[in-house]
Amino acid sequence: MTFTKATVSALALIAASATTAAARDQVQIAGSSTVLPYASIVAEAFGENFDFPTPVVESGGSSAGLKRFCEGVGENTIDIANASRKIRDGEIEACAAAGVTDIIEVRIGYDGIVFASQQSGPAFNEFTPSQWYLALAAQIPGEDGALADNPNTNWTDVDAALPDAPILAFIPGTKHGTREVFEEKVILQGCEDTGAMERMMAAGMDEDATEEACMSIRADGRSVDIDGDYTETLARIESDANGVGVFGLSFYENNTDKLKVATMGGVVPTTESIASGEYPVSRPLYFYIKKAHIAAIPGLKEFAEFFVSDDISGPEGPLAEYGLVSDPELADTQAVVSDETTMQ
């Protein structure tokens, strides 16, 4: 019977090749979708200029990447996890439990988070954290510190200087690392600046409850969580001129013909103002290397060194051109990679 033969031979072929599968010769990377473009730019340049194959870069988010990173040591686990936040203690423990003990932490630079709106929409040119807090908080304390539902429906309710447009903000969903930064550096800051925090504390709330009250975002449709990518945020803004969206700096840089950016606290977001720390809303980007893999996977160390080299991650390199804020302390990072210094 021809197809019985075909089945048997196909199965035999696959079984035979499975046993002879060669050792992995390319670097495997997974993690943050914010780091993904940078990692793929570096991977591409690495593949062009070195004898090693181009690394494979997956996205999936910081948490998912670190989870896979901590699955264990071996060829069928990833070598590098990209993260748009620092690795958490719980994740280090999970790693250790699976035998991943020596982890090298590499900070590649900073990512700026910008507030932008449709090019031809209302003139959202200047924002402060206080305005965002007053516009988006779920509940705002009154003079006596008692929480009441946020009454603001128009940006002019928040501040007369803002354009006359209904509040409509597109912010990253809770699964994004960007959301955390947005809440801490904008909303919480605004809560402090407006004195709302003080009033809540004075009314007898403890610190945790106050922070939680500060950072809870209204759910009446004026603030929309975007769980997809910045491309989705852009599409939403293009269809509604009154919308204001939260973007990564590199995304904005690639779409300046459609978006106009607003200052935060009077500072224009640029790679320079973020590097100097003047622009407040930014976060460091990292990748984590399994030290145990450096000996086993050819090209892993060379890739990491190439990634943090001045040619790539420096202020004149292709990553900075794409929107990465290069790390002023890049030399320290280069030393960490070449010495294979693990985390303590």
């Binding site: 060669a22 793929s40 997956e58």
Partner: protein
């Protein structure tokens, strides 16, 4: 009593004539007309949606099949590219793309000057007219043909995505004025280059053959690796799912006794056919990667996962095809002294083959369009290396066509919107071909009793 009944019978049916419709007939006819209209409306809505979808995909995506290139006379000085003069590719490889970049820039400036085009763009802006990829292509070309060193050769380089977009109508002078990545002056220069015959837009073979490009090089991003990856996975699915599925169906349909166990199996197969495909991805990660130790991002794992996903579809289609073969065929074979197995393989199976193949192709087409199960096994990735030929290539990293669409829609450069729509067109063409084959097989070989 009898009178009453006699009066009743004609009063219901006999009063009306066939030509004049009574109230009930008119009502039934109206109901039928209404139902036909509903059906027609439903079909129209469907067609309208299809037209809307196709128009949006085609209008966005057709331009991906055209690509702007610039012809540059590149000078390749020996002192920069091969100081030793021995033309040893290994030594020459030490000159990285960073070393080739100034060469291309100077050559571009010279080309523009030779063509007699006046421009006050600074070298950096001028360089931005061509893709970053062109430097890498130039280096590969020189390493492959060391004899060109020392000469000045004409090279077709890819234009930058924004310049390419200008000739496709995506970028205009107005948008360029606002855009940080391209200026109206650059567009003017590009137009002048076109008039000088140095810049042309032609069919984009690279879109079908090149591997994926990073976020800064939309113009160089192609479907090569994705098409290969999809092809490998389809081969695996075909080689595994068809024999296993057909064998299982023949056993269940022709040989298995009807009892609780076979009922249970039947329910489970129908159930599996409806399981969300991501579940198979989780299974694949647990079994094939974590337990069996197969590599990540490899078509072999993708193929195995898709095989599991396609099996129920193939089994259900095959069983239906076997059931459709009339019992008289089996009885005749058995009556002439054929064994059960002979009757199945010599008579029933050949007659059921068109149905089986149709089911298989539809199952394959479904597998071709799946992204979700590939997400967890590492195939939703940026892969630039072509997998080698089978069978080793089955273990190399690759992506798949729908994955490429998914990846490109997430990129920030607007040029990737065009690429993503172009990839959808390629995927649709493949699906169309597969479904046409299925229809052809059915029409050509199907027998009715």
């Amino acid at each position: 009593m009898t009178d009453a009944t006699a009066e009743h019978v004609p009063s219901g049916a006999g009063q009306g004539s066939l030509l004049a419709k009574d109230a009930r007939t008119a009502k039934r006819n109206a109901a039928e007309t209404r139902f036909k209209t509903y059906g027609l409306i439903a079909v129209c809505i469907g067609i309208a949606m299809l037209i809307l979808l196709m128009t949006s995909i085609l209008s966005n995506g057709l331009s991906a099949f055209r690509q702007t290139t610039i012809q540059v006379m590149v000078e390749l000085p020996e002192d920069k590219l091969d100081k030793s003069g021995v033309r040893d590719p290994e030594v020459m490889a030490k000159v990285t793309t960073f070393g080739y970049k100034p060469l291309l820039r100077d050559s571009l400036i010279a080309t523009v000057a030779t063509a007699g085009i006046e421009t006050d763009l600074d070298p950096k802006d001028l360089e931005a007219l061509v893709s970053d990829e062109s430097v890498a292509q130039l280096r590969d070309f020189v390493l492959a043909n060391p004899e060109v060193i020392g000469q000045t050769i004409p090279v077709q380089v890819l234009a930058n995505g924004r310049i390419d977009g200008f000739f496709k109508g995506r970028v205009t002078y107005e948008s360029a004025a606002l855009d940080n990545n391209v200026s109206p002056e650059q567009l003017q220069l590009a137009e002048a280059l076109k008039e000088a015959g140095l810049l042309r837009t032609g069919f984009n073979w690279g879109f079908l053959t090149l591997p994926d490009g990073s976020d800064t090089r939309p113009e160089a991003a192609g479907l090569g690796v994705a098409i290969l990856g999809s092809l490998y996975m389809m081969l695996i699915v075909l080689a595994l799912a068809l024999p296993i599925g057909v064998a299982a169906s023949i056993y269940l349909e022709e040989f298995a006794p009807q009892n609780r166990w076979t009922d249970l199996i039947e329910v489970n197969i129908s159930n599996l056919a409806a399981v969300p495909s991501i579940v198979f991805g989780i299974l694949g990660l647990a079994i094939f990667i974590n337990f069996a130790g197969l590599p990540q991002s490899a078509p072999i794992v993708g193929g195995l996962v898709l095989t599991l996903m396609t099996l129920p579809t193939i089994i259900i289609a095959t069983r239906a095809a076997l059931k459709a073969v009339p019992p008289s065929i089996r009885d005749a074979a058995l009556g002439l002294g054929a064994s059960k197995m002979q009757s199945v393989f010599h008579h029933v199976l050949p007659l059921a083959m068109p149905g089986i193949l149709t089911g298989t192709i539809i199952g394959l087409a479904q597998a071709l369009g799946e992204t979700a199960p590939l997400l967890l096994i590492g195939m939703v990735a940026f892969v630039r290396e072509y997998p080698s030929g089978p069978p080793e290539g089955l273990f190399d990293p690759a992506t798949a066509l729908p994955v490429q669409v998914f990846n490109w829609t997430q990129r920030s450069d607007p040029a990737f919107v065009e690429r993503a729509s172009g990839a959808i067109i390629v995927l649709l063409v493949f699906l169309l071909l597969m479904n046409l084959t299925a229809i052809f097989l059915r029409r050509r070989f199907e027998r009715r009793w």
